[in-house]
Symmetry: C2
DNA sequence: CGTTTCTTTGAATCCGGTCAAGGTCCGTGG
DNA sequence: CCACGGACCTTGACCGGATTCAAAGAAACG
């Protein structure tokens, strides 16, 4: 199901200015795998005996309703753990957005790694708490924000990762829509509107910069 | 801010058929406190050095936007931990729905309780994972479900707590609305509609029973 | 350079929100 | 015991923001 070490050609958006947060080393535990665009890292309802960490690239988690509606849980970047939510099985699927490299660790392996295992378990704990916090933030966004506020929140959040430089979105409009609980058309319209209002500027549909941080922040409304 | 051991008269809905899930004992750690309807157990942005566990009654967590919009995070019942999401400060407030009794435990106290502390820390860990799962379920509901499906999901979830008997809602329509990302009017209309369709039956606005479990489940659409 | 996929834009529709009344439930006090 | 008052819930009419449907435009890819 999940391809082991599949090498893809260099068509990947190499994200030249990617904001590489320094990734604490995970030591020698686990295996590195490479996934191509759209490939599944793990699947909804599958057993959850591994945990995963993004080394390079970006990942989305998503969940499908039986009639095809989809909710994107979150997007993950280098240094982030994924698959933490799991009880016995995964509630969401995880898919690579572009080419990405993932470190895969068997949960059971941590028990027998002493020192190193304990250190990683601590990282997992704090990762889980952060995940819970982000998810709660996401709740607020989905439950109580307008389309315009949703898109503004999302862009501001993305822009933060790039520290004011030009930001590059690793996902398309459909992924944004499914994250924000909107349709792709609405996302597109709001992006257009935010640009018309001079709050952001796009160069192509995946690169943008914030032109008016204060104005954008005002829309986000903590 | 939070009243210690306030005794309220017996106007509380004593919930005679309340589904008392057996609560594992927390031993002698921590203090029990009683809160009256609407009282704050902890407040958004407050320091988070305690954890809390519902002993009796029901609790909602909620978060306020600066313009008054409110999102209810979740509802908690006897045995549930609350306040787990916290980094240094609480992201949500927690308020008592009716009269309720809460066991309050200073986090730092767990470190020095040996055996007992470790046992509770494990309960907290599994509580946090369950919380994350519930929150993700909530995401799906807020992002991708119609008003009717939202209300149906909610009622089905509540009904499950009462194992098919007549269920008693500890919260009012406004709380349901803020949990579901709807207005109070829409919640009311959907309840009326579900009743008209013969899926549920209300006796008063807080007691109901499921009349057609399959039909209701069909609306929920996993 | 043609084809496919993704994005944007427009027009019409509809679901849920808003505004405004009326109803119900309860507790209080005459 | 009943009248009153307040809080909460329900219902109706209308409105508007987001979706839907459709088509044109732009990017990515072979």
């Amino acid at each position: 199901m999940t391809a082991v070490s599949q090498i893809l050609p260099s068509n990947a958006p190499t994200s030249p200015a990617a904001p590489t947060s320094p990734i604490d080393d995970l030591g020698t535990i686990g295996v590195r795998m490479t996934f191509g665009p759209g490939e599944e890292i793990y699947v909804q309802d599958e057993d959850a005996d591994m945990i995963y960490r993004v080394v390079r690239g970006a990942v989305r988690t998503s969940r499908l309703l039986s009639d095809g509606r989809r909710q994107v849980g979150d997007f993950y970047y280098p240094g982030d753990f994924i698959g933490l939510e799991a009880g016995p099985t995964h509630r969401f699927s995880a898919e690579a957005l572009g080419v990405c490299e993932i470190q895969v660790i068997r949960k059971a392996a941590l028990k027998v790694c002493g020192e190193e295992g304990v250190r990683i378990e601590r990282m997992i704990w704090s990762g889980t708490v952060r995940e819970l916090q982000r998810t709660q933030e996401h709740l607020l966004l989905l439950g109580r924000k307008s389309a315009c506020e949703k898109v503004a929140s999302f862009l501001l959040d993305m822009a933060r990762r790039f520290r004011g430089q030009v930001a590059e979105l690793p996902m398309g409009r459909q992924d944004m829509a499914d994250y924000l609980g909107l349709t792709i058309e609405t996302v597109s319209r709001m992006v257009t509107q935010l640009q018309a209002d001079g709050l952001v500027r796009f160069q192509g549909c995946r690169r943008f910069e914030v032109r008016n941080p204060a104005g954008l922040a005002h829309l986000v409304e903590a």
